[in-house]
């Protein structure tokens, strides 16, 4: 339907149907219109294949082509959606890749959570876990309001972040120790469980391999022993003796 004479077949069903119904080839025939023709008389389909000038998302306006002879390219192609945080986020996670391994909080309060944040007050924000996103937002705030350069703002935000992370880790460690002192039992760690499973597999393989080697050895010995021919030779020898 995309090409050829029938490409508008689907869009024109209503027109086709009304024209067919109005045809005067068989004039005195009772021909009720199907229910959808009356139903859709006032709901035309939207236009298709129009190619609007797309929304421009670039932070800086697009540069004009160098010479007037070159026509502008990709004029109707959708543009990239960019935000000022993108570069900062990329830089932070390139420097701290293990921050990506931490669990991420996906819950929102009401979908407009940015209203609850005040990045002038530091990295700790209500309803938000301390993460790389805090650093990025704080850095952007410093760049935009405190007129710091990108690297300066990064250093400030990053150091605040390190301090809070240290604090969190110490807090967690002390809480763990305290709980242990009161008899808490945390069970095996993920690594321990993993190592045990791995050991189990190795031991199973070792047992299997031993059996295989034993079997092969027996087969080999059986091949050299020549046991099959012996009774025949004895039989052959016996009458003569």
């Amino acid at each position: 339907m995309a090409r050829g004479p029938n490409r508008l077949l689907a869009s024109r069903v209503h027109r086709t149907a009304t024209e067919t119904l109005a045809s005067t080839v068989y004039p005195n025939t009772y021909n009720p219109s199907p229910p959808w023709v009356t139903a859709l008389a006032n709901i035309p389909p939207s236009e298709i294949w129009t190619r609007p000038y797309p929304a421009q998302h670039a932070l800086t306006p697009n540069r004009l082509p160098k010479s007037r002879k070159t026509p502008p390219k990709n004029l109707y192609r959708p543009t990239k959606i960019v935000f000022p945080e993108d570069k900062l986020r990329r830089a932070f996670y390139a420097d701290h890749p293990w921050e990506l391994a931490r669990p991420k909080l996906l819950m929102e309060i009401d979908g407009m959570d940015a209203r609850y944040r005040d990045w002038s007050k530091g990295l700790r924000q209500p309803g938000m876990k301390l993460s790389g996103e805090s650093v990025v937002q704080r850095q952007l705030y410093l760049m935009q309001t405190a007129q710091m350069s990108r690297s300066q703002a990064y250093d400030v935000a990053r150091k605040e972040f390190y301090k809070l992370r240290r604090f969190e880790e110490t807090e967690a460690r002390i809480a763990r120790e305290e709980a242990r002192a009161y008899g808490a039992y945390f069970g095996k760690t993920v690594n321990q469980v993993g190592m045990e499973l791995e050991d189990k597999e190795y031991n199973a393989w070792l047992k299997w391999a031993g059996e295989e080697i034993e079997g092969q050895e027996m087969e080999r010995q059986a091949a050299y022993a020549n046991d099959v021919d012996l009774p025949v030779a004895e039989e052959g020898v016996a009458p003569d003796a």
């Binding site: 339907m1 009720p32 298709i48 294949w49 929304a55 990239k80």
Partner: protein, 394 residues
């Protein structure tokens, strides 16, 4: 047995009882306890008898201890149970209460009547395909590109969805037959629920090519029924139902147009309007009414389908309410109408025949009978107001 699991295996009942050495021993060991005695010298019968008597008394003592232990345990059961119930009562109000929990199929069971932009975003309706796979005909629906995929403009989605919902509602209101199609993996519950809401038909398996353009062969012998405006089944059409042609839907809603080209093509040829979810790689000209949205996410499809199903439900409700007031917005199909006319004509001829016969039987001096005297009430009404006027014979 592992000591750690001891409590788990034997429950708090045992733990609450003060432990005593013999009972614990019995519970803790899996092997049987054997007491070894020195074997008596052969022939020493006296010693043997003594030993037997000793062991007998020993066994009796053990059995006695075990019995008393058992009695104690049984006696402790009600006390422990009371304690357990008390603890349960004390702790039942502790902890947090979950007011609203996330149920993945809530959107299918109870779909919204309209989808807001937030709903559409939460259902990931805005996710398109990789930019290299786009169909430039969809440029109108695309907001921009991010992470190498196209982002569908949710304003466009919402506007088109409302239009499509109106289409479904109106067709349902005018008594049209709607077919919902979604034959991707996992779309079955969505499509069936939607059809259930809108009082429509559904398809979640392969579309047999030709079900519209070659329906007389493929759908031969399918079951049909004739209903009145209140959706009550009418009798007296058995002969017609045996001979009539299979029906064609009045509206087809397709959740995955990419896999259903043959069906959409048939619909276009047979002038059946279609509604389709158009992702950035689909062709919008395949369907009459487009809904630009992500068709690969079940959540997105469920939201869109739910809104359409609700629209169909509204249309059916409106239609039935109007029918109660006597307003009917659809006409009897041509073939059914023809059948009714034929039946009426036959009845009329029969009545005329009866009248002539009666007239011949009558003597010359008696009063003449009119044809109406031998007709039934329905036949008289049909005579007065034309064929098809009597609802029970429609």
């Amino acid at each position: 047995m592992i000591v750690r699991n001891f409590g788990l295996r034997h429950g708090r009942q045992v733990l609450s009882v003060p432990p005593s050495a013999p009972s614990c021993l019995r519970l803790l060991s899996t092997e049987t306890i054997t007491r070894t005695t020195t074997a008596p010298a052969a022939g020493n019968e006296e010693a043997m008898e003594q030993l037997a008597a000793l062991s007998a008394t020993h066994a009796a003592r053990e059995a006695r201890i075990a019995r008393s232990q058992q009695r104690l345990e049984i006696a402790a059961i009600p006390k422990n149970y009371k304690k357990f119930v008390k603890y349960q009562k004390e702790t039942e109000n502790l902890g947090s209460e979950i007011e609203r929990r996330y149920l993945p199929d809530e959107i299918i069971r109870n779909p919204p009547h309209d989808a807001s932009l937030e709903d559409l975003l939460a259902a990931q309706c805005h996710m398109g395909h990789h930019v290299s796979r786009w169909n430039p005909a969809n440029a109108r629906y695309i907001y921009g590109q991010r992470s190498d995929i196209h982002i569908i403009s949710l304003e466009q989605t919402a506007a088109h969805l409302r239009r499509a919902a109106r289409v479904v509602e109106e067709v349902a209101y005018h008594g049209g037959l709607i077919l919902f199609v979604g034959n991707r993996k996992g779309q079955m519950p969505i499509v069936t629920r939607m059809a259930e809401l809108a009082g429509a038909c559904h398809l979640f398996q392969k579309w047999t090519p030709g079900c519209i353009t070659n329906k007389d062969v493929l759908l031969q012998g399918g079951q049909l029924k004739i209903v009145n405006e209140k959706d009550e089944e009418l009798t007296g059409f058995e002969e017609h139902l045996r001979d009539c042609r299979p029906v064609t839907p009045d509206l087809v809603v397709c959740l995955n147009p990419l896999e259903n080209y043959a069906m959409l093509r048939e619909c276009a040829v047979a002038t059946v309007p279609t509604v389709g979810v158009i992702d950035t790689d689909a062709d919008p000209s395949w369907v009459t009414y487009q809904i630009p949205a992500n068709d690969d996410s079940l959540r997105s499809v469920a939201l869109i389908a739910g809104v359409l199903g609700r629209a169909g439900e509204r249309g059916q409700q409106r239609r039935l309410e109007d029918a109660k007031q006597g307003v009917v917005n659809w006409e009897t199909p041509r073939d059914v109408r023809g059948h009714i006319d034929r039946v009426n004509l036959k009845l009329k001829l029969e009545a005329a025949e009866r009248w002539e016969k009666k007239q011949a039987e009558l003597g010359p001096g008696e009063k003449e009978l009119k044809p109406a005297d031998l007709m039934t009430e329905d036949e008289v009404l049909a005579e007065m107001f034309g064929p098809g006027a009597v609802p029970s014979r429609r």
